[in-house]
Structures are given as structure tokens and as C-alpha cells.
Amino acid sequence: MLIKFTLNGDPAEVHLKSADRLLVDVLREDLLLTGTKHGCGIGACGTCTVIIDGAPVSSCLQLAALCEGADIRTVEGLSEEGMLHPVQQAFINKSAMQCGICIPGHVMQCVSLIEKNPAPSDEEIRASADSVYCRCTGYVKIMDAYREAAALMKKAGKV
């Protein structure tokens, strides 16, 4: 079946090999957008988080067929004209990564949080970061980056 959606601002069309093909496989295998990572396949780890119509979802549980007409954003779509998105810059500024495999998930989760809630409290940041596993950092620097991201987003006039 053929589905159409907007991907990182551009129109996209994909022939699904199967009606229940998962979005993560469409992104990684059909469109070769490998920035979105596959961590567990059951929606638990958050590594595959993308933003659909402004809300974060686990692309490993998202049936691509449900994305007809949707606005999908992945980590590849964040930077504009070679300039990093403020959230990406925040993760760099705070050394908020080690192995990095969870970082696209955290970055997307953070973007969706701050677009919705431009000045999140520490508690709201903790609750949001809580939904994406990180095996390396113990989340300290990651939560620092969420805070920094809110400040940079404000500065950049993105919220």
C-alpha cells in the first residue's frame, strides 16, 4: 500500500511492503534515515523516538500505515541550513552524550517537550527524560542539556 506524509518538511511517499510495516523500518530501511535508532522493539527504551504531528512517539511501535497525511520529524530534520538546532547544541554544550545511541531519541523527546512547554520545571524535565533510557550517562548531563535547550530555544526565538 502507498502512503503519503510530510517528512522533515518535505513530501514523502512510501510503498509499504506490508500493511503493518513499522515506521522505524520505513525510516531506517526504506528511506535510509538511520539517525533514528532501533533499541528494543517494544516501545520501552525510547531510542527510536520521532515526532509525529508535534507529539513524540516510539517509531518501533508506530504502524507506518497510520501515518497517512502526518507530519513526521526525525533527528535528521532538525538542523537548518547547516545550523544546529538549539536542542542539538545544548547536548553538545553539556557533554550530554557518551556512546550516543540514545541521543537522537533524547533530542527528539526534548524538542517535543520544549515546543509544548517552553519553560519546563526540573520535575517536568525529569518526567520527560525518564521516558528514554540511557545506559551511559546516569541522566545527569542529559537533564542539564534539557535545561540548557530550553534556554537556547528561547534565545533563538524558536518558542
Binding site: 535508532k37 508506530q62 557533554s95 550516543g100 517535543s112
Partner: protein, 1078 residues
């Protein structure tokens, strides 16, 4: 700058360090935040095939026959291999006992039997299901006791008694030491398997060309992996090239003991095309090499003063079915701790036993967490018996610079006392102990670690090349590799500092065994210390060559020249006297007989290769750490709340402060996971659910405030005074937590994991007096279903049809046609497909775009209406919902996080009528009515009745209506999750209480979920007409105990769940009542 740096005392040393000690931007940051970093699963090559592996479903069996003909005949299948296609070479780091694919015998559930490469992953998996294996199932050994028992079945025929390795030592006069002791403590402690759980699983892309194989691996140790993979493949090492991809977490789990990469290479050879093989998350649990569990008996003797006089240990370790690095881990767990305190006498015997379980291996800490789990708790017992504060006792016995352990560990730099003091200070230990709050406790633990270890022969060195290029930049050529710990950044800092070039002007290579000098890679906390020294030497050599070239060009003696910030010129010269480095390098090349600037640096750890009894100075330097922890225990549930943790590390000079903090923060968090969250249920030698459902990692909310500190320290043999720090932050965390729990409520935990149930049992034995043992049911989920149906990989023989009706009536009609599954958010279907391997039906009926089913709002009469296809997130954000139906809002909070609420719908949460789902439990606390539709029309039914009578086969839910809550009502919901938000509940409960104007109770409804196949709903009539009385509420809730019929699983025994059903139920009635009063 480190105040202990001896150069500070040197008047000539005035510049200080410019790059070392600075938080420069991480080398790997940019590609990691943009998604550009190439991990092994991201590689795509022309003609690349995808692979899948058939694994043993039996813990011990003889393979009678394997028939691969049906798999080979499938279209798209390009190679099928079994043990017969291998060189039949056993391999392993120390004791070769593992075949790449089974030869005649399997020894654990997960053992590799056959593999397929096909044009896509689905075909490869489907082909796996077509391979027919006949087994003769043999008796298996699952525990240390079973493995040791007389006449036990042998895991390997050449290992009598199932002993894989054994060693013993006695240093000093142990018996005399105990004889002289005033206080003796002893005990036995046990550890469990912990998985690395890197969010990137193990994987490899392999390709043969010109009779050589190139393996793109996410390995931590490319050169060691190359050597072992060559043995496994039965080819000379020269035929194998390993290239390290980005590594998505290692922690020891990617240190070249896996069959995954070997199988990828074997398939690629047979198919003649590149092959990609990536572990699924489930395979990572079944067949990677988790932390080795140990049973650790320890006895310590002390003088009255607190001085330690003797130590004795007896240890048995569970190797699993194959050895990997486990015998070295056994060694570390036995001897290493003796370099932590001033033990004058020590005796040990350690035995490594084969079992029919997943093989164990290296994991951050490498045996030290097992030793610390036991011995650091024994120290805590001793402190109590001696009447000395643990902080003072550890301080008194801590090793110091210049000490030599009984095994000849030479302690060159040591600030353990500083670590202990700072850790206690950071959580305000002394003050808080004086004014201790009830059920709050403090615990401490210390640890020691090596900085590299002589393990793989008499060399623990590193070799590096530093080139200064004609463009003025320098390139570090090293095969050590980044696994996320910051290698690339730290080595660039060291080179920049040594060369006098800006950090941004230093490049560094990624490992490729064809290109780089021999390197051992990321293990044993060695890279900063060992590779850092090699890079520093190479940079010094390049620096020397550059200065010599400049000397010739400037016509000045070398000692009058200096390099500052990429410019060369005379010391104390004006800015205009300086030339860029690029000009000097270029001029040195472009002349007759010119030369490039290339420095080579070799550095071997100044350590000794230990003898068979592990005597010998394993490492040139040792790092130290202390952890102090504050906990609070909930006596009603046994749940432990970690309040604060301080971790202070002596790692010498800190080269990159934020990366160093990150190492410690991450290690502490893994230590918390080992202690409290990471465990499974087991059945017949395998986890009942090898996924992140039962096995949960600490998530952000579970991790307490972590204070990280570094001791002021300088290691003379380290680069700029630095030592390693990758592992040490983990080692003593579980023991420190256990010590704090003992301090808080007097419960001493001996066996990991620390669960709320263990603490609850110890605190309330009376609640378990009438306990009847309920045996756990055979597992029914995920991999078990697939094994039972003979489709272990779980692919489907068909592609489902997609139906998207526009109206409810159309949907009903399509549904009535049969073989159709309703789908709205799609999560249940995706999960079932992923986990069980079969879809709900051949036709998927997507009702998520039917307008009637998407309506939601609060009506003018104050009632809530929601269509079945409405997402939970919509209700979660609905204005006015929380004030009216607080319990429902709290159930949405408890759903986990916004991604779950965004993907789950009202109908999806109600449809399966599952007794543990949060939303239905909360809805049952109110008057909730479902509207159902089928071919025979519509009907309404109360939610409670729906749970009693279920739905008919052709019915579907259209909407839910919840009546307005009466005035003076309050409600509350709680999901009891001892291990954090990612878990399914032990118990969830909701209550709604309505009072009259005088505050007397009019109605109480209590719902308790997750302890029966349907939620328990009680109207607590005994409380009607009464005023608030906690004891009366608790008495009224008591019947829940008898009504609960909980399943026994990883979340608790039946009796614990019954007790929690009562406890959480009572708490909800109390909370709802208090809200009603307002």
C-alpha cells in the same frame, strides 16, 4: 590544574596546563546529536544480505539431526550454515570451549545452531523457522549447587565436577590473624547476572574479498577480537581485518567473545556477499555474556581498635555454559579487594563452575562488584560489632601511597581517605546521622580498580603515532577506539597539551586493524592511562622533530624555541617572530631529502604478569573510590527510595571534567541497576521474558541526586598525572545501598537483587506466616509462545490486509466478516507482532479515523464522554478532567510517559479487559458505562459488568461515558512500581470516597488491579456513616487479601502481592477520603 602536580613546585613551570583539565567539546558530539554517527546497524552495502540465527530452545541437548533443506529452498535465501560449515575450532579468551555453531551438542538456551543469510531480514527469519532440528534432551544444571552435586550432569565432558577453573592462595598467617582477633564477622552474599544492556546490541557486517574478510564490528577491542575471530573461523589472523564502527555502549559486553560476528563472517563467505547480523534485544539477553554471578563467603578478623587482622574468602562463580573471560573475572573478584585495605593476612579459594545457563563475561567492574557486594557489607557488620562508625573504620584501614598488598600490588598514588571523607561530606553524613529521621539510613562502600591489567600475555601496552601535517594540524593514529567513554577527546587533549597545538587542530583515527599499530582497546580502565601515555610519547617525539626542524629553519638552538597555540618561535619572542607550524612542517618536507614529522610512541604498563596464584603487581597504578548513600525505606511496602548518592573517585589528574563526571554518574547508575532494578524470572534455564518489560534499567526518575567528586591526586606514572576511572564508580554501589538499608530498618540483604519484597518480608514476618507456596506458572509470553509453536523467529506466513472504515456501521460490518482485528493506536498489534511473532488476524480494521469514535469532552451535566479511538493523551490534557476524576488523571500520569499516552487509545485499553491496565482500574472507581456495537445493534453496559460478562465475539466499543462525581467526593489512583516507570505494576489501585456535609462517609468504592484476571471492585459499606479513621479503613480493605489471586512473577510472590493489594488499596481510600474532606 591539580594542586598535587609536582611541576607546580618547579619555578620554571609557569604556563600551567592549557588543554588538559578543560571541558573541550567532545570529538564525537556533533555526529551523535545529528544522527550522522554510523553504528554497525546503520551500514548499508551494495548486495548486502541480512542474517538470522537459530538458537537452542533446550538448556542441554544432543543434536540428533539438522535438516536445512526447506530453508535452503526458500526464495531469497542465499546461505544456510550449521556447525558442519565451520572449521570446528573451539575458541575463547582463556579456555577455548565455544564453537561458532554447535557441533553435536547444545549447552544453553540461546546456543547457536544454524544461521541463514537472505535478501531481507524477514526472509532470513522465516527461513530459520524452516530448519528442523531433532534433539535428545539431556538433564541440565542451573545452579551452583546443582553443578557441584556428586554425579551432576557434565556441561563439558572434559570438565569433571563441572569445574572450569580453580585457584587458591594463602598470604601471611591467616589462622594466627583470626586467633589474635577480638571481633570476627562472616557471611555469605550472592550476586546475579546483570546484562550490559547497551542500547545498541552486538552486531557485525562482514564481507570477503580476495580471500580476506573485513568485519565492521561494534567491538571495544578490535585487535583482540581479530585474533579470536581468526581462531573461530579457522583462518590465519592475516586473513581477518576488523574495523570498528561507532560503538553504542560496551561496558565489557562487546569485548570480542561473541559468536555473532563469527557467524556473520561465515555466512558472508558462503554467500559471497556482504552479510549483516545484528542481535535483537531478545538475543542480546539470551546470548551475550552478562555479569558473572558469584556466591561469596567472607570472614574478617579485627582487633578491638578496629585494625583489620585477617581475611578469608571462599567463592564459587557461575560461568554459564562457556568461559569467555570468566576465569580472569574470578581472579579479580578474589584478589583485587586486598589492595583496598591494609590486610596483613589473606586466604582464598575460588572455583568457577559450568552451568547450562547463558555464558557470563566481562562487565564494568570485572568481578569487583561481587567482591564489594560481600566484603564491603562484612566491613559494615564489623563496624556495628566494633561500635565504630563505618566511615571511621574504613578510614583507619584504608591503604596509602607506598603500601604493597599481599599480592604485590604496589600502590603508587592513593587518596582513598580523601575519597571517604569527601563522600561523607557531600551527603552531610555526620550531621544527618546525629539527627537521623526514622527509616532513613546511610551506607558507605569503597573500591579499588586497576588501570589496565597484564592479562593477554606479558604486555599491557599501547602504541601510537602522531603526525604533524603540512597543514599545521596533527593526527593521532591509534587503534584504541571510542566506545562512548571519551577516548577520542581525552587522547586529543593529551596530544594537544604535549604538542602545544590547539585542541581543534588535532585529529584522531578510528580503529582498523589493517592500519593501526597494535592496541588492546577499551578494557580494564586502561585507555587514558596506557594509551594516554603512548600518545603522549608519540606527541613528544613529534614535538622534538618539529623543534629540530624549526631550529634548522630559525637557526636557533632547540632550547630557545617553543610552540604556543600552533605557532613556533623563540621563547620570549615578539608575536611577529613566530611562524605557523604548517610553514615549518612544509619547509621540512619540501627540500632535498626532506622528511615528514612522524612521532611513534610505545608505552607498556609498568606491571607484572601475575603467577598461577595471582601473585604479581597487575597494574602500574590503582584508582580508588568511595560511595556514600542515603536511603529511606517505606515500611508498608518495603520500597527503598534512594535519596542522595555521593561518589568520589581518585583517578589522578582529571583530564576532561565533564566526561569524567559522566563516567562516574553512569557507573553509579549501573550500580543502582545491579542492586535494585535489573533482574528476571527464570524458567528451564532461560529468562521468562527477555526484554525490557521484566528487566528494567534505571530510568531518569529512579536515579537520585548524584554528587560526583574527585580526590586531589596525582599519579606519577600517568599521562599528566592521570589514572583510569571507567569502572570504579559502579563497584561498591550495591553494597553501599545494602549498608544504608541495614542502617535504616535493620534488614541485611545477602542476595541480589534488593527488592521491596525482601525488605517487606523481613520487616513483617507475621504477614507471611500463613503463606501458601504458589508455584509459578509456565511462561506464556513472547519467546515462549514462539518456541511452543515451532516458530522461534516469529515471522508470519502472510501480509495482513488493511481496512479503513469511515463509519461505525461500516466498521461493524467488516468486523463481522471475521478474521479481523480492531486497531486504533496500533500499539497492541505492533507489540504482539514484535514479541509473539503473530498478528491478531489477517485483516486489520483501523477505526482510528471514524469521527464518532474520536469525540471527547465534558458534557453540560458534568459527565465525561470519550470515543473509543480517543488517545489517552487527549484525555490527559483535557481541561477540567483532573479536578473531577482525579483518579483517572492519575492513571493517565501512571501510563508511563507521553509516548505511551500518545499511542494508546481508550478502546485499546479497555478492549482486552485486562485486570492490570491502569485506565480501566481508575474508570471502575467511577460510574462508567460502555456503548457497544455489533451487527445486532447497540447496547450499553457498565464497565464493571463488562469485566464480569465479557464481550460477545462480534462486539466493539464505540464510546465510554463516566458520570459526574457527586459533591464532596475525592478520588485517588496509584500504580505501585518498585522499579520505576518502565515496569508493569505489582499492584494498581483506585478509590473514590463521597462524604456528607458532616464529613461522614456516604460511599466508598475501591478498585484493585493487577492481582487477579479482573480488577477487584469493592463497595466498603462498613465505612458508611463513619468519620475518617485509618484503622477502620485498613480493616475494611482487608477482604482484598482473600479476593486477590495474583500470579507469581518477577514483580513478587503471591503473598507479597496480596499484602500490597491491601496496603495500596488502603492508601488509596485514605488519600481519596482526605481529598473528599477538602
Amino acid at each position: 590544574m591539580n594542586s598535587r602536580d609536582p611541576r607546580l613546585k618547579d619555578p620554571k613551570f609557569d604556563a600551567g596546563l592549557l588543554v588538559v583539565g578543560q571541558d573541550v567539546p567532545r570529538t564525537d558530539a556533533l555526529p551523535k546529536v545529528t544522527g550522522a554517527a554510523q553504528y554497525v546497524a546503520d551500514l548499508h552495502m551494495p548486495g548486502m544480505l541480512h542474517a538470522a540465527v537459530l538458537r537452542s530452545p533446550h538448556p542441554n541437548a544432543r543434536i540428533v539431526s539438522i535438516d536445512t533443506s526447506a530453508a535452503r529452498a526458500m526464495p531469497g535465501v542465499k546461505a544456510v550454515i550449521t556447525g558442519e560449515d565451520t572449521a570446528k575450532c573451539k575458541w575463547g579468551a582463556f579456555r577455548p570451549d565455544l564453537y561458532p555453531l554447535a557441533i553435536g551438542r547444545v549447552r544453553y538456551v540461546g546456543d547457536e545452531i544454524a544461521a541463514v543469510a537472505a535478501t531481507d531480514a524477514e526472509t532470513a527469519r522465516a527461513a530459520i523457522d524452516k530448519i528442523v532440528v531433532q534433539y535428545e534432551v539431556l538433564p541440565a544444571v542451573f545452579t551452583l549447587d546443582e553443578a557441584m552435586a556428586a554425579g551432576a550432569p557434565l556441561v563439558h565432558d572434559d570438565a569433571p565436577g563441572n569445574i572450569a577453573h580453580e585457584f587458591a592462595f594463602e598470604r601471611g598467617e591467616v589462622d594466627a590473624g583470626f586467633k589474635a582477633s577480638d571481633v570476627i564477622v562472616e557471611g555469605t552474599w550472592e550476586l546475579i547476572r546483570q546484562w550490559h544492556s547497551s542500547l545498541e546490541t552486538i552486531g557485525c557486517v562482514a564481507h570477503w574479498s580476495n580471500n580476506r574478510v573485513t568485519m565492521w564490528c561494534n567491538t571495544q577491542t578490535p585487535f583482540l577480537a581479530r585474533g579470536r575471530y581468526a581462531v573461530a573461523l579457522g583462518v590465519p589472523e592475516a586473513q581477518v581485518r576488523v574495523i570498528q564502527t561507532e560503538v553504542g555502549g560496551g561496558f565489557g559486553g562487546k569485548s570480542g567473545d561473541d559468536n555473532c560476528s563469527v557467524i556473520a563472517a561465515l555466512l558472508a563467505r558462503k554467500a559471497g556477499r556482504p552479510v549483516k547480523l545484528i542481535h535483537t534485544r531478545e538475543e542480546e539477553f539470551l546470548a551475550s555474556h552478562p555479569r558473572m554471578p558469584m556466591r561469596y563467603w567472607v570472614r574478617l578478623g579485627f582487633a578491638k581498635s578496629g585494625k583489620v587482622l585477617a581475611k578469608e574468602i571462599r567463592m564459587w562463580a557461575d560461568n554459564g555454559a562457556y568461559t569467555g573471560k570468566s576465569q580472569a573475572i574470578l581472579g579479580a573478584a578474589t584478589v583485587r579487594h586486598d589492595a583496598l585495605y591494609k590486610y596483613p593476612n589473606a586466604r582464598a579459594k575460588s572455583t568457577l563452575l559450568y552451568t547450562n545457563l547463558v555464558p557470563t563475561g566481562a562487565f564494568r567492574g570485572f568481578g569487583n562488584p561481587s567482591a564489594d557486594w560481600a566484603v564491603e557489607q562484612a566491613w559494615d557488620l564489623a563496624a556495628e560489632k566494633l561500635g565504630i562508625d563505618i566511615v571511621d573504620l574504613l578510614r583507619m584501614n584504608a591503604v596509602e601511597e607506598g603500601d604493597v598488598s599481599p599480592h604485590n600490588h604496589k600502590v603508587t598514588s592513593c587518596e582513598l581517605r580523601q575519597c571517604i571523607d569527601k563522600a561523607a561530606e557531600l551527603i552531610d553524613w555526620k550531621n544527618k546521622q546525629k539527627n537521623k529521621k526514622p527509616d532513613t539510613g546511610f551506607g558507605m562502600g569503597c573500591s579499588v580498580h586497576v588501570n589496565g591489567r597484564r592479562s593477554f600475555g606479558d604486555w599491557d601496552g599501547s602504541s601510537a603515532i602522531v603526525r604533524i601535517n603540512e597543514d599545521g594540524r596533527a593526527t593521532i593514529i591509534t587503534g584504541e577506539g571510542e566506545i562512548g567513554q571519551g577516548t577520542l577527546t581525552v587522547l586529543r587533549q593529551i596530544a594537544a597539551e604535549e604538542l602545544g597545538l590547539p585542541y581543534d587542530d588535532i585529529d584522531i583515527t578510528r580503529p582498523d586493524t589493517d592500519v593501526h599499530p597494535h592496541s588492546l582497546g577499551a578494557l580494564a580502565s586502561r585507555v587514558t592511562y596506557v594509551a594516554g601515555n603512548a600518545v603522549k610519547r608519540a606527541a613528544a617525539e613529534a614535538h622534538k622533530q618539529l623543534i629540530n626542524a624549526a631550529s634548522e629553519q630559525f637557526k636557533k638552538p632547540v632550547d630557545e624555541l617553543t610552540i604556543i597555540n600552533g605557532q613556533i618561535g623563540p621563547k620570549n619572542g615578539a608575536e611577529s617572530d613566530f611562524k605557523p607550524v604548517s610553514a615549518v612542517v612544509r619547509a621540512n618536507i619540501y627540500k632535498r631529502g626532506g622528511e615528514a614529522i612522524v612521532g611513534v610512541g610505545n608505552w607498556d604498563n609498568p606491571s607484572e604478569f601475575p603467577d598461577h596464584s595471582r601473585f604479581g603487581n597487575e597494574s602500574g597504578a590503582y584508582n580508588f573510590a568511595a560511595q556514600a548513600i542515603e536511603v529511606e525505606v517505606d515500611r508498608g511496602t518495603g520500597q527503598v527510595k534512594l535519596k542522595e548518592i555521593a561518589a568520589v573517585v581518585d583517578c589522578g589528574t582529571v583530564i576532561h571534567p565533564s566526561a569524567a563526571q559522566g563516567q562516574v554518574e553512569g557507573a553509579v547508575t549501573q550500580g543502582i541497576g545491579l542492586a535494585m532494578t535489573e533482574y528476571f524470572d527464570w524458567h528451564n534455564g532461560m529468562p521468562t521474558d527477555p526484554q525490557y518489560i521484566d528487566y528494567t534499567l534505571p530510568s531518569a526518575d529512579f536515579v537520585p541526586k548524584i554528587h560526583v567528586g574527585f580526590a586531589d591526586s596525582y599519579e606519577p606514572s600517568g599521562p599528566f598525572g592521570a589514572k583510569g576511572l571507567g569502572e570504579i564508580g559502579l563497584d561498591a554501589v550495591p553494597a553501599a545501598i545494602a549498608n544504608a538499608i541495614a542502617d535504616a530498618v535493620g534488614v541485611r540483604i545477602h542476595e541480589l537483587p534488593i527488592t521491596a519484597e525482601k525488605i517487606h518480608r523481613a520487616l513483617h514476618p507475621e504477614l507471611y506466616a500463613d503463606e501458601k507456596q504458589t508455584p509459578p506458572a509456565a511462561p506464556k509470553t513472547s519467546v515462549w509462545t514462539r518456541l511452543a509453536t515451532g516458530t522461534p523467529s516469529g515471522t508470519r506466513p502472510f501480509k495482513p490486509e488493511w481496512l479503513q472504515p469511515a463509519t461505525v456501521e461500516e466498521a461493524v460490518q467488516r468486523y463481522a466478516e471475521g478474521n479481523t482485528a480492531i486497531l486504533s493506536g496500533g500499539m497492541a498489534h505492533a507489540l504482539r507482532r514484535e514479541r509473539n511473532g503473530y498478528p491478531l488476524a489477517k485483516r486489520l480494521l483501523h477505526v482510528g479515523r471514524i469521527p464518532e469514535m474520536l469525540k471527547a469532552g465534558i458534557n453540560s451535566d458534568g459527565a465525561l464522554h470519550t470515543g473509543a479511538a480517543v488517545k489517552q493523551q487527549v484525555l490527559h490534557e483535557m481541561a477540567g478532567l483532573r479536578e473531577r476524576w482525579t483518579a483517572l488523571a492519575e492513571a493517565f500520569d501512571a501510563a508511563g510517559h507521553d509516548r505511551v499516552r500518545q499511542m494508546t487509545t481508550v478502546g485499546g485499553s479497555l478492549g482486552p479487559l485486562i485486570g492490570g491496565f491502569d485506565m480501566p482500574v481508575a474508570m471502575l472507581a467511577f460510574d462508567s458505562t460502555l456503548t457497544m456495537v455489533s451487527a445486532s445493534g447497540r447496547r450499553t453496559v457498565s464497565l464493571a459488568e463488562a469485566f464480569e460478562k465479557r464481550f460477545t465475539k462480534d462486539e466493539m466499543i464505540v464510546c465510554v461515558d463516566i458520570k459526574a462525581v457527586p459533591p464532596r467526593s475525592g478520588s485517588a489512583f496509584h500504580k505501585f512500581l518498585p522499579r520505576g516507570v518502565m515496569e508493569t505494576p505489582t499492584v494498581n489501585a483506585a478509590a473514590c470516597v463521597t462524604l456528607d456535609v458532616k464529613g461522614a462517609c456516604v460511599a466508598v468504592r475501591l478498585v484493585v488491579g493487577a492481582v487477579s484476571w479482573k480488577p477487584i471492585v469493592l463497595q466498603l459499606k462498613a465505612l458508611h456513616g463513619t468519620q475518617f479513621d485509618e484503622a477502620a479503613i485498613r480493616a475494611a480493605v482487608q477482604p482484598v487479601h482473600g479476593l486477590a489471586q495474583p500470579m507469581v512473577n518477577v514483580r513478587g510472590s503471591a503473598q507479597y502481592k496480596r499484602n500490597m493489594a491491601v496496603e495500596i488499596g488502603a492508601r488509596m481510600v485514605i488519600a481519596a477520603w482526605q481529598r473528599a474532606k477538602k
